[in-house]
Structures are given as structure tokens and as C-alpha cells.
């Protein structure tokens, strides 16, 4: 007895090595069923789900048993259901052959994902709609990335606007401050002189004005730093002399703070730096010591070695906790509570930008028994860091 001829499909499943070798149709079905990146399934003409693949299960969360036979409107949000979106999409697919739609869809667990959906009408030979093929992609990650990019762009724009405002405000403030400064100075320098009472008052007004000018200058520096317009003007000078000059300028302020300021140096330390900027660093550190460590001695110590110079500014005030040692160099930060001390919290930020632009470094000496100590190292010759070249 001969065995009946094997059906073609069954014959095709047995390859020469006995491996699975099915018809093109079956292999295609297996492919669709195993695709994980896309939900690919069929609907009947009314929109009821007829097939289900691995991607559909992964994206929507239902197993085939749970969802086959259900209407595709199950995946739509209440808002889309209220406006009749599922029926509208099917109607469009019938009318135009296919329809594509992006929007929120709902998973089994109720969470939402951003979907790109293509529905294609399957039309029989007589033009009758046999059903639909539906392909859905989960684009939530892409949407999130786009939203994140947008948020970032908005944040960058807000920062740019703030810096621009800062720059304009500082420029605008500076001109009338200059006029006030000139008027007050001209009162003090009148050839015929001033009586003592008036002189004291004008001198006070002058000092307040100078503080305002300094604050505005700092704001301008910050806006220059953030817009990349911060440049250095290198000349050769003696750092010891420059530090001594700054300390002399602070003479009156030191007396008011009750602090004795001393400078120790082995002698002239001549290098190539931006004098005004380096003086500004010394000014900022000295001003900080006189402000936060008033009544304690302040010491500025300089020394040179083959690599460069080191300037140490020490006081015997309350000191700065180790946990704050990095934060204080950020914009608008300070170690002391704002209500106790005024100021913009920009001095150390500007100081670090200046020192680093010279190719140097500034840090707070960690774990000091008493007071704060800042150490600045500068190479003998201004060497801008890679990023600034």
C-alpha cells in the first residue's frame, strides 16, 4: 500500500536536513507574528481584531487571547472616542485606501503611548471591503526626546534673554552712575574747597556710588563671561606691587572692618597677565575676607616657583564648610546666609573665571582649623585654556 500524497504545505515543512521549511505564506505569517517593533494585526470590516503579533502584545500589553474579537476602539483615549476618531479613521481608510494618524493610545494597564498608526483597507475583487491591516509604532520615546529638546531650547532661550537683560540693564545703569560720580568728585575737587560737614557727606555719597559702580561692573563681567565676550589684555607687571596697591586702596575699608591686612612676598614677581583682571581677583577675595571675617587679620602671601606664582589669601573668620567649597564658585552662591550679608554672590565666580582664563586655578584650602583660605596659582605667562583658544 502506497501512502497518499502528502499535502504540499506539509511536504514543504520537511527540508533535506529535517528543519522547518514552510511555504512562503506561512513564513510570512511567522515573520509578522514575531515582529516586536511594530504592532501588526488585522481587523474585520467592522473594526474587530482578528489577528495579533508579538509587537502588538509588547506595545499594547494585551495577549492574543485577551484581545482577539474586541473592537479596535479599545486602544483609543476617552477624548478620541468622544469625537468618534476610530470610526472616522476606518471610514477614511475605506474612502482613500489608507489612513495615517499620530496620537495618544491607551495600553492595557491604562498608561498612554504616542502612536503612529497606519490603517490600510483590504478590498476584495468586487470592491468589497474585506477588512483592514493595522500597523502601529510606539513613538513615545521619540516624542519625549523632541519635547526634551524643545524644553532645552526654551531654557537656553530664557538664559540668553536673562543675560541680554543683565547686559542692557548694567550698561544703562552705568552711564548715570558715571555722571553722579563725576558730579560728586567735582564737588570734592572744587578749587575753592568744601566745608568739613559737606565734605564728609559728599565723601560718603562717593563711596556708595563707587559700590554701585562695582556691582554694575560685576554684572557686566558676568554677562561678558556668559556671552563669551570676556577677553584678557596681557601685559608684563609685578604681582607683588599690584597686590600691595590693591591692599592700599582697601586701607580705609580695612580700618572700618577692624582687620589688619598684611602682604608677605619674597620680592617682585614679574609675569605676563591681565593686570586689571588679576587685581579684580585680589579685590574680590580681599573684599570677601573684610566682609565675612571682619575683625580678624587678613594675610596675603605670595611666592613663586618655576611653574608660576601662588597667592594665598587667609583670614581667621568663621571659615567655609568643606561641603560648600565648590558651590561658592558658582554664580549667585555664597556660603553665608543671604539675609546676613548683602552682595550678588558673584565675586568668587568672576574670580574663578578670570584665574581659569589665565590658565591658572583657584581653590579653597580644605579642612582648616580656623578661617577661610583661598589659593590661586597662575602660570608665569597667561596661557588660555584649550576651550578659550
Amino acid at each position: 500500500m502506497t501512502s497518499p500524497p502528502q499535502p504540499q504545505i506539509a511536504r514543504a515543512t520537511e527540508g533535506p536536513q529535517g528543519s522547518a521549511f514552510r511555504s512562503v505564506d506561512e513564513r510570512f505569517r511567522a515573520l509578522v507574528s514575531s515582529v516586536k517593533e511594530y504592532a501588526i494585526f488585522m481587523l474585520d470590516p467592522s473594526g474587530q481584531i482578528e489577528t495579533w503579533n508579538a509587537g502588538a502584545e509588547r506595545i499594547k500589553g494585551y495577549t492574543a487571547d485577551e484581545i482577539i474579537g474586541e473592537h479596535m476602539s479599545r486602544f483609543y483615549t476617552p477624548e478620541d472616542l468622544a469625537r468618534g476618531l476610530p470610526a472616522e479613521l476606518l471610514a477614511t481608510a475605506v474612502r482613500e485606501g489608507r489612513v495615517e494618524n499620530e496620537g495618544w493610545r491607551v495600553r492595557k494597564d491604562g498608561s498612554r503611548f504616542w502612536a503612529d498608526v497606519v490603517i490600510t483597507a483590504l478590498v476584495g475583487p468586487e470592491g468589497r471591503v474585506l477588512g483592514f491591516a493595522k500597523v502601529t509604532r510606539d513613538l513615545t520615546d521619540r516624542l519625549r526626546a523632541q519635547q526634551e529638546q524643545l524644553r532645552l531650547a526654551h531654557a537656553e532661550e530664557a538664559i540668553r534673554l536673562r543675560d541680554e537683560f543683565l547686559s542692557i540693564a548694567a550698561h544703562e545703569l552705568r552711564t548715570p552712575l558715571s555722571a553722579v560720580h563725576l558730579q560728586l568728585q567735582s564737588l570734592l575737587e572744587r578749587p575753592e574747597g568744601l566745608d568739613e560737614r559737606a565734605r564728609t557727606k559728599v565723601e560718603r555719597a562717593c563711596r556708595s556710588n563707587e559700590r554701585l559702580v562695582a556691582l554694575v561692573e560685576t554684572l557686566l563681567d558676568v554677562s561678558r563671561i556668559s556671552t563669551g565676550a570676556f577677553t584678557l589684555n596681557a601685559t608684563s607687571f609685578d604681582l607683588t606691587a599690584a597686590v600691595q596697591e590693591v591692599v592700599e586702596r582697601f586701607g580705609e575699608q580695612a580700618v572700618r572692618a577692624g582687620s589688619e591686612v598684611t602682604v608677605r612676598s619674597p620680592g617682585p614677581l614679574v609675569g605676563t597677565w591681565d593686570r586689571l583682571r588679576v587685581e579684580q581677583v585680589v579685590v574680590n577675595l580681599l573684599a570677601n575676607s573684610l566682609k565675612y571675617a571682619a575683625g580678624t587679620p587678613v594675610e596675603l602671601e605670595l611666592h613663586g616657583d618655576p611653574d608660576g606664582v601662588e597667592l594665598t589669601v587667609s583670614d581667621a573668620g568663621p571659615g567655609i564648610p568643606a561641603s560648600e567649597s565648590e558651590r561658592i564658585f558658582h554664580r549667585f552662591e555664597r556660603a553665608a546666609p543671604m539675609r546676613h550679608f548683602g552682595g550678588l554672590g558673584l565675586g568668587l565666580y568672576v574670580a574663578r573665571q578670570i584665574v581659569e582664563a589665565h590658565g591658572g586655578e583657584i581653590h579653597l584650602t580644605p579642612l582648616r582649623a580656623r578661617g577661610a583660605q583661598f589659593v590661586i596659582r597662575l602660570p608665569w605667562r597667561l596661557t588660555p585654556p584649550e576651550s578659550a583658544r
Partner: protein
């Protein structure tokens, strides 16, 4: 040359303060608002100023453009110019202007008078 100082400054308050300080110290002073006005004034002046105090950032014609025009006019080229620079960064811009002096704004009255005395 006269003992008059030409002040080229667009801000009215600063210009006024400079004019007052200069006259209080025994010099004559004339104020104009920008480089264009300064050139116009100089073209009509029978006596040229002994020094020009020049602001850099001004509308219509800024300090640099004025200085260029001044240098090209042989009649005006020798008038010494003192640049008033509002910002540190402008000092470098002033470098190319061949000014006899660059004063940071606001200048101290002493340095201002000193620099005027040197030329007038």
C-alpha cells in the same frame, strides 16, 4: 590752538559734568553729542581746541569713526585726543586710535585735570 577743550560725549549728564569740571578748573570747554557734530564744529571753528575728550560708543558717528576722519584732515590731525572708555574691554579698541591717553569712565577729576593741563 586755544585753551578750549572739545568734549564729544552723547550722554547729556556726563557731558554737562565734564564741561563743568573743566571750566571750574580754568579751561574753556565746548560740548557736542557725537562724532558728526564734532567734525561740523571743528570745520567752522576759527580756533582749534587744545585737546579733544572723546567717548567711544556714540550714536550717528562713534569715536573710532570720528578719529579716522580727524586723522585724514591735515588741519585737524594734530589735535591730541583723550579717549574716555566706559568699559575695560574698550581699552583695546582704543589702542588703535592713537590717543594720547585713555581714561576709564568715570575718570577721576584729578587725572582728567592732569591730562588737560598737559595739553592746554
Amino acid at each position: 590752538m586755544s585753551h578750549a577743550v572739545l568734549v564729544v560725549e552723547d550722554d547729556a549728564d556726563i557731558r554737562q559734568a565734564l564741561l563743568e569740571i573743566i571750566t571750574e578748573h580754568g579751561f574753556q570747554a565746548v560740548g557736542v553729542v557725537h562724532g558728526g557734530e564734532a567734525l561740523e564744529f571743528l570745520s567752522r571753528a576759527t580756533e582749534l581746541p587744545c585737546v579733544i575728550l572723546l567717548d567711544l560708543m556714540m550714536p550717528v558717528m562713534d569715536g573710532a569713526a570720528f578719529r579716522q576722519a580727524q586723522i585724514q584732515d591735515p588741519r585737524l590731525a594734530t589735535i591730541p585726543v583723550v579717549v574716555l572708555s566706559a568699559y575695560r574691554d574698550l581699552e583695546r579698541q582704543a589702542d588703535g586710535l592713537d590717543a594720547v591717553s585713555v581714561l576709564k569712565k568715570p575718570p577721576s577729576v584729578r587725572e582728567l585735570v592732569k591730562v588737560i593741563e598737559a595739553h592746554c
